[in-house]
Symmetry: D2
Subunit: 286 residues, 4 copies
């Protein structure tokens, strides 16, 4: 949505007096124009978080030199940090099964440039959406997953992700549980949309569980994938009201609307480096 | 909200062809004017639910005679049913501890006649709100609860509830777990407000649990109390958005706003006989 | 979502004692199994509204005979009524301009059979989505609209709609104001999605108006099109929270998510005969 | 919610490179510990906004000296600014008529110290709540307002507000239109709760207007009072879903729940110096 090219610096470090001053002082010294800035101090853990957008053309050097010059200060502050360039599109690999709502939704956002990304390929355990994906000019890979071939299948997914130099993997209602290897290989890079308001209704058939319990709202959760099923850091959640007249099939239908919206919001936060993972939680600078 | 006196018939029975026709036929036969009517068929269990509001002055007889005349049809349909009179105020006993938000809220609604009820007394394990409650002309009973006196304390609560001929007991953030005896004595008559979006975060300190898990919405649940803690039929729920900057104390503060609203909505549904319990779930005809 | 074929009877008539009884009595007499039923009395105007779903295989005759047999009772009750068959798909003509979010969303719902419809054609004043629409096997008509050719253009839209025997016309962010002739030709058949929470911000550039006024929520409204711009009966609305940091471009982006969801919900209510128009308002039996 | 005393600096100034750096540099220089910080650049007007919470005990001087020392920098940056002390409670004068929901709600929040304020008096055009207010130990002033005495009445309100050294005036469903003199005397100090989602349904009887238009959500708006009725800068808004079955009386009842919540949220933002007025809009740093 920004008209101009900008860099996004996101970082965390132990809290102390003077962090904002020193970081923004460094930027100001070089004439850097800060477009957007967010800071958060976690009182409990004493960790400090920040995110800054800086106009690229306000700085007298490029990103490589920024990194070089910023490194000493980052070292003094014991920072975990990165800086990215809005002109470099993130490469998002989408994994789907046989439900279209998230896939159509993501491709519409990609098509309209609402999501400023490349989709180097779509991977699926079914061949259902080959035509639709290929019509958009995006390569489609059918990688079947059976009880017997899981190791090979996920090795193939990993190979494809590496081959296309993916930054982010999105499980857009993929309906398969990734192998621990894959989860561990890409921490903070794999996003899932779970069709319940976590931590309620972990695992399979959450709408059936919700129906059984008689809840009055159902939800969806976008989270980073970790080794433990549906236990990763939560990025975004939302809910929708239901009532006694709604069957499981109705919930599935309503649920799709929040699933795709929550996934799209969570993905955008992730792509814009608005999400900083902190233990099993997230700081999300909206 | 109705200008005129009306009767509310609520019922459930095994589903079959012709239920609505036979019940509304009975009413029409006597000239009964139906103000509001709701029906629900549960496909899974084959049970049928209904709620009807009938203008009192449109019928040529009083409630006692209605009951007498309706009984044969209800028998044929194997109905669980009841009919109540809007002119007879329900008697609601409120239990509180030391948090005022739900108490102030309920008394404001009682004062303004938004809730068409009598509050024959307020019971508390602390003496904190005696003055406030008594200023409203409502008797206040201090029944301390300690680890040692629970049996006697809940026996006293039961005695007071019986003495004032209570219809409904409301745990307005009462912070004590009722004895199984009390729960079993009044099924479908005791309402609790739990400060989480159940089934997430059952039991103590749900906001601490929510903080730990890093959820992005927190909620409140109004449910009927059963022997199993926080497992009773859910009447109403709602949520509010939070983010990483919110401490547990912030969540407690935000939470109060949904707790009191959800409790008030759930209580109103209950008082207007809009809630029909079905196993561990509810049908709520709003 | 119903497994079985059913008929939907929707009707309104002057209120009087015995309506439900007589209508459901007629159905019960023929063994009709009512799956879902909703009733509403408008106190102010004295008009009565109803909607009933009846299992097709529970009746001993087909729809034509139902209509024949029901007509006398409908006449006595002075009913406006219709009955439709879930096995007959409604024919929905979609009009779009150059924004894809509603189009992708509708086609995903059509593809997955969430919307039980035929889309006999898509009409657009631009050629942008020809490929996408035709890939789905749906005919695409490019009908350019210029200041000079409006009359002919809308005559052509009308001709196409008639040619494909359309039931419903959906303006899926069509961005053109239909001619009065077209509006008058299809009352209660043309749905629009307006990108504001009506009645706020009528007409052009509602997000710019919202930005100027500094509102804290933005919305979308699905309504029937009438001769007066953005004044037709409202079917569905929703809102999303924004804040001071959101530019007009951000609002446009957020707005798309509610626009497509609100349009899809409103369209489903319409297609399932859940919407009864009453003056400039709607009864929506969800 | 903060355990410790802190100062809140809120400011706006023309945007330029280096603002954050210079302001936080000044604070860091004196060892100031920043607890919370928010910044916003308005792209359209080129104005920059900020809010900082600084731990009082981290600074080597008191507020008076902070002001003295900060003044030169503020001058260079052409800032509008103020700094307040969390240990000094704001003095909030509440104006009510005959509806209790906002009054009970505010007093509950004051009682529980959720709102860290003094309420030096309540003023009403009716005597209805004298007992309730006085029971809380708060002076109550009955200032009747008639078509003939408006000038004197508002002069008396002004006199009382000055006498108790009020900081903020809250119209808690006051139902009277203040005189232009009063509005102009306290810009950004008088908060109103309007019972509609502005700009829809300005003026009297908004729920009747909403009923007539057939909207599917109703709302409430907390805004600063200006000379123009219901046109002042919006601080906070929210909505609640209704449907065709809701009468105006139902809307009034539902509306109360959002009115009191929206007012309380808006008031808290205001009291914590989270609201910066900018033309007819607000920046709200939540």
């Amino acid at each position: 949505m920004h008209r101009d090219r900008f860099y996004t610096l996101s970082a965390s470090c132990p809290d102390q007096v003077g962090i904002i001053s020193r970081v923004t002082g460094f930027i100001a010294e070089h004439g850097g124009w800060i477009l957007e800035s967010s800071f958060h101090a976690d009182d409990i853990t004493g960790r400090y978080f920040m995110r800054l957008e800086i106009r690229a053309d306000s700085l007298p050097f490029l990103l490589a030199e920024f990194r070089e010059r910023f490194r000493p200060l980052a070292g003094q502050l014991e920072m975990d940090w990165k800086i990215t360039d809005s002109a470099v599109k993130k490469r998002v690999v989408v994994l789907v099964s046989q439900q279209e709502h998230c896939l159509y939704d993501l491709l519409a956002r990609w098509q309209s440039k609402e999501l400023n990304i490349e989709i180097p390929c779509v991977i699926s355990n079914h061949d259902t959406f080959r035509g639709f994906v290929e019509w958009h000019g995006i390569p489609f890979h059918h990688v079947p997953v059976t009880p017997d071939n899981k190791l090979q299948a996920y090795a193939e997914v990993k190979r494809l992700f590496e081959e296309v130099r993916g930054d982010t993997m999105v499980l857009a209602r993929y309906m398969q549980i990734l192998s621990p290897e894959l989860c561990l290989a890409y921490p903070g890079q794999i996003l899932n949309i779970h069709h319940s308001f976590l931590p309620s209704f972990v695992g399979a058939k959450p709408y059936h569980q919700a129906y059984q319990r008689g809840v009055k709202l159902i939800g969806a959760t976008c989270h980073y994938v970790t080794e433990e099923l549906d236990q990763g850091p939560i990025i975004e959640q939302d809910v929708i009201r239901i009532d006694h007249s709604d069957s499981v099939a109705d919930m599935v239908r309503y649920g799709k609307d929040i699933e795709k919206t929550v996934l799209a919001r969570g993905l955008r936060y992730h792509l814009e480096d608005r999400v900083l993972v902190h233990g099993n939680k997230t700081v999300v600078f909206r």
